[in-house]
């Protein structure tokens, strides 16, 4: 697993994550790998990164909800992002981990990703609006496409991802 720089982790741990709409999209993003694409999350919304622990399954919930875990005394849901995006399943590896995101008001959720990459500072002028079609992922989940060098990182609106579908199946 790629190790984040100590500074980044501390920023993450201390920051008041509010998940507020930032007027400008430019800023720091944590990037991670999922099914051969690279995605980015606003660093302010990232609480921590943990290994994949025992996940307790919850009956009668959506497929993409893997279950719940005990995060230092708090019970939080864990989403399988591949399933959420409709991508094929894959086996777990050493690099698979859970990113715990804070979408505001102490609402914590874990997302399972293939591997965590680096934190990049992506300026506004390097971010393009999401394409209408043809992207791996539904454009309602996207903030934009960020350019880092020659590579493109798909910047996610994690709130939209997590709140778009109900967890509980009727």
């Amino acid at each position: 697993m790629q190790m984040l720089e100590q500074d980044d982790i501390e920023v993450v741990a201390d920051a008041e994550t509010t998940g507020a709409e930032t007027a400008s999209l430019g800023g720091k993003y944590l990037t991670f790998a999922l099914a051969r694409e690279e995605f980015g999350l606003e660093i302010l919304q990232v609480r921590e990164i943990i290994r994949v622990l025992d996940i307790t399954r919850v009956p009668q919930t959506a497929d993409f909800l893997r279950g719940v875990i005990n995060l230092r005394g708090k019970v939080i849901p864990v989403i399988d992002l591949r399933c959420r995006f409709g991508l094929p399943k894959t086996d777990q590896t050493d690099e698979t981990c859970i990113i715990v995101v804070d979408t505001g008001a102490q609402k914590l959720t874990g997302i399972i990703v293939d591997a965590v990459r680096e934190v990049y500072d992506i300026q506004e002028e390097n971010i393009e609006p999401p394409p209408e079609f043809g992207s791996t992922v539904d454009s309602t989940f996207l903030l934009g496409m960020g350019k880092v060098g020659d590579a493109i990182k798909i910047l996610l609106d994690i709130r939209a991802v997590l709140e778009g579908e109900p967890f509980v199946r009727a």
């Binding site: 009956p59 009668q60 919930t61 497929d63 005990n70 019970v75 849901p77 109900p166 009727a170």
Partner: protein, 890 residues
């Protein structure tokens, strides 16, 4: 005429005081001496000439014999001397009888005519604009003066007194622009009134420094120039002077009414719309909270007064909280509350001074006032929660205020009329004074008429804390406990002796912190029990029975959340006890019992739980009757055999009620099942012990804290779940022959004649396929709709676990009420049997419907008796569940 004349002021006063205490109207010698002393005193530096003048004149009148009202004059003398002595404690304190004690003369009716006005003056001289208490007392005095004036037909004085009252009201309510100034002018005006009053009937009796009517009028005008609110008494009162009353004055004739009742403004009370400024919301919120607490104390105190109406100290205890509420309301311009409490306070004041007996009519009146106040505060609370610019809708108080004024003035009899409904069959009219004495309770104390042991009142220091802060603290402490457990159990710590020791120390301290945090949320059950006292009183009257309530263990503490939620169930059970448990008086007497029934509430700790018992000595539960009713309602089949205890538990079944008559209190059959549900939601249990003809006892057992439950850990497939043990009736491995299948209802378990539906949890959750019950475990649990049997793979054991919520996003989950952190740190979901039952109905229904339509759900339902659970069938089962959702859209 005097022999020894002491030289200095204090000595003079002392002599005067001593003489005043023993002098009578015939003792001219002493009177003469006093006159001399008074004159000498008047010659001293720095003495208040007005008062000395008045004293001298009064003495002269007594000596010469021109005083028409001798006792009053003597009283005035005494009063002035006391005032001059400057000893406030001997100045007539407000809660002593309004009549300054006349030196001799038993005939003199209570109130001395100069009494109120002199007191008023004295009070006016020392009051300041913020002293609401004293201002209120002055207001009362004005009313007394006015009343006396009315008696004499002295309109001028009455109007002056009314003016004074208005002025004081203005200061209290804060409508005076310059209160301090107004008060000074008030002092001046009262003084004038006093000085220029004819203590004698003859206009040309001994009088000095008399102001003419016009001058008085002008002075009063000046005093009240700031006061706009004058209604009746107008701006410049023209003393409609009869010759005898050259200027308004306190009458010589004492008030006829010994109790010095005063009708306040004779006009009816006119309410005004109430608006609260946004700036004041915070204060009003605090007021609501404190007033609520005061009202609780008031109710408890009133019930005691009802039992012992002659105990003036108890009436005083009742007076004080009303007084406090009045002050607060006045400060916040809550006029209706302020005026209502003022009136009831006046009534109680009469009571505590012995001027009025607290008859049952009075007591009922105060209860009514309490109810109105609760409604008022409720209305204000609603407004504070959702403020609008509109005036606050308020319950009508005018009628009650007028009524109270009438009672206070002696014009209305509080016991007339309305008492009919309260005199039930048992005629509780008498017993008010002789409850526990006449009928010695067979066992157990009666707390409603406690032995008059003075309870030492311990005033505690306390701090008000926002409950959110408290909850946050408790949560953090919970996490602290878990974190330190992780540390202390880590191997590297355990291998290092020193670290291990230190870690152990940390553990211990953390445990103490946790206990302290939990203890902060603990609140005594006392106030809940006290509310029951009022309830029992009202209920027993309504039902026409005489029922006493005995409480014990009221100091027992519970978590504050639990206390809030236990209220309703308790109320329901107490109602049942009074309504159904206690028999009517004649039935009781016929059965050889005491005529009055007893309901008792008891609370205590027992092995980590708190137990609340509700007992009654009524007719007890009849198992036969319960059985019959249950069969009648189809809840029970005719051939089922039940133990007595199981029969008692029938009352918890939904829709069950054996009351012949549905009263508006109870008997609709929607009660006990809800009660049990509420208690189970608190992780508690209800148990019943009863003896036909003797009575019943309901015991509520609750865990000391909501956050931890006692759970049965079970395994379903590869997952572990918790079922709260208080919901479990029993767990068993059924024999194959106990299981049958009912058409369209699925599998059913036959337990000693009872048919209990089985829920295949693994299958329903799509974790496993169907499990043969005979090879698994069935946990029989309570639900709203009867018991169900939950089929699980294995019972792992009992565990105490900490409850965590899953969060809003999971609120639609049926059958899962939360999550728990198990001993190994993993999460186990908590099962809710009622929710599971509902989920099962829906799921099974859809399943059956799917089968009927022939869709491919056959993969899920395997034929009867098939063996191993199909762990790999998950995907198919899931698809089947999804396929069958079509039938689930309801």
């Amino acid at each position: 005429m005097t022999q020894q004349t002491p030289d200095n002021a204090p000595e003079l006063l002392k002599q005067l005081a001593e003489a005043a205490g023993r002098v009578d109207a015939e003792d001219l010698t002493t009177l003469a001496k006093m006159h001399g002393w008074a004159v000498a005193y008047g010659a001293e530096e720095g003495v208040p000439e007005d008062q000395v003048g008045a004293l001298t004149r009064a003495l002269e009148g007594l000596i010469i014999g021109t005083t028409p009202d001798v006792p009053a004059a003597l009283s005035e003398v005494a009063t002035i001397i006391t005032e001059l002595s400057g000893d406030l404690s001997t100045v007539v304190p407000m809660d002593a009888p309004a009549d300054a004690p006349p030196p001799v003369d038993a005939e003199a009716p209570a109130a001395a005519a100069s009494g109120p006005l002199a007191q008023l003056l004295e009070a006016a001289q020392r009051v300041d604009a913020n002293d609401l208490t004293l201002l209120a007392e002055m207001h009362t005095l004005c009313q007394q003066v006015a009343a006396e004036a009315v008696e004499r037909g002295d309109d001028g004085v009455r109007r002056c007194a009314a003016e004074f009252a208005e002025c004081i009201e203005g200061v209290i309510l804060g409508t005076e622009a310059d209160p301090a100034d107004a008060l000074r002018k008030l002092v001046a005006s009262i003084t004038d009134l006093q000085q220029n009053g004819p203590g004698e009937a003859e206009p040309d009796a001994v009088r000095t420094a008399a102001l003419s009517d016009d001058e008085v009028a002008a002075r009063l005008d000046e005093a009240f120039a700031l006061d706009d609110g004058a209604d009746d008494a107008g701006g410049a009162p023209e003393p409609a002077a009869s010759e005898a009353d050259a200027a308004p004055a306190p009458a010589a004739k004492p008030a006829a009414a010994a109790s010095a009742e005063s009708a306040a403004a004779t006009e009816p009370y006119i309410p005004e719309p109430l608006r609260i400024d946004a700036k004041e919301l915070e204060f009003v919120a605090a007021f609501i909270q404190e007033a609520g607490e005061h009202l609780e104390n008031i109710e408890a105190a009133l019930l005691e007064v009802e039992q012992m109406p002659d105990d003036k100290e108890k009436i005083n205890e009742l007076f004080r909280p009303f007084h406090t509420i009045k002050g607060m309301a006045g400060f916040l311009n809550l006029r209706d509350v302020n005026c209502l409490t003022h009136e009831v306070e006046t009534l109680l004041d009469q009571g505590r001074r012995g001027e009025r007996t607290m008859t049952p009519g009075c007591i009922d009146l105060v209860f009514e006032v309490i109810d109105i106040l609760k409604a008022q505060i409720g209305a204000i609370a609603t407004f504070v929660a959702a403020p609008t610019p509109d005036p606050i809708p308020q319950p009508p108080v005018a009628a009650m205020i007028d009524r109270l004024r009438g009672v206070v003035a002696g014009k209305v009899d509080p016991d007339a009329g309305a008492s009919g409904k309260r005199r039930g069959a048992g005629s509780p009219a008498e017993p008010a004074a002789t409850p526990a004495v006449a009928e010695s309770p067979a066992g157990g104390p009666s707390a409603t008429a406690p032995a008059p042991v003075a309870k030492p009142v311990v005033t505690e220091q306390s701090v008000r804390i926002d409950t959110n802060k408290l909850d946050a603290l408790v949560d953090m402490v919970g996490e602290l406990v878990i974190a330190q457990t992780l540390i202390t159990s880590s191997t590297s710590i355990q291998n290092d002796p020193k670290l291990s020791k230190d870690a152990g120390q940390v553990s211990k301290i953390v445990r103490d912190v946790q206990e302290a945090a939990m203890a902060m949320r603990m609140v005594p059950i006392k106030s809940t029990f006290q509310k029951m006292a009022r309830l029992v009183r009202d209920l027993s009257r309504k039902a026409g029975k005489h029922v006493e309530l005995a409480i014990s263990g009221e100091e027992t503490e519970l978590d504050k959340n639990v206390i809030q939620q236990i209220g309703d169930p308790l109320v329901h059970m107490v109602r049942n006890a009074v309504d159904h448990g206690i028999e009517p008086e004649d039935a009781r007497v016929a059965a050889g019992k005491r005529a009055s029934g007893q309901v008792s509430l008891n609370a205590f700790h027992h092995s980590g739980n708190i137990v609340i018992e509700i007992s009654d000595d009524g007719k007890g539960l009849d198992p036969e009757k319960l059985r019959a009713k249950a069969i009648d309602k189809g809840i029970l089949s005719a051939d089922e055999v039940l133990t007595d205890e199981q029969a008692y538990n029938l009352i918890f079944a939904a829709g069950f009620s054996t009351a012949e008559q549905i009263t508006d209190i109870s008997g609709r059959g929607v009660g006990m099942d809800v009660v049990r549900r509420n208690i189970e939601q608190l992780r508690g249990r209800v148990e019943i012990v009863s003896e036909k003809g003797r009575g019943s006892t309901f015991s509520i057992r609750l865990p000391l804290t909501l956050a931890i439950i006692d759970g049965m850990l079970v395994r379903i497939g590869a997952e572990r779940f918790i079922i709260a043990t208080n919901m479990i009736e029993q767990a068993l491995r059924p024999r194959a022959e106990m299981i049958t299948t009912v058409q369209n209802r699925g599998e059913v378990l036959n337990v000693r004649g009872r048919l209990i539906p089985l829920i295949q949890l693994g299958q329903m959750f799509a974790f496993t396929g169907r499990v043969a019950p005979a090879e698994a475990m069935v946990v029989i649990a309570h639900t709203d709709a009867g018991d169900v049997g939950l089929v699980v793979d294995e019972l792992i054991g009992q565990q105490q676990v900490v409850i965590k919520t899953l969060g809003e996003q999971f609120s639609g989950l049926r059958g899962i009420s939360g999550a728990a952190i198990l001993g190994d740190g993993r999460v186990g979901l908590i099962l809710d049997p009622s929710g599971l039952h509902l989920a099962h109905e829906l799921w099974h229904g859809a399943l059956v419907a799917g089968q009927a339509e022939g869709t491919a759900v056959a993969a899920v339902v395997e034929p009867e008796g098939a063996a191993a659970p199909d762990a790999g069938g998950t995907d198919e089962a899931t698809r089947a569940l999804c396929g069958s959702t079509a039938g689930q859209e309801v």
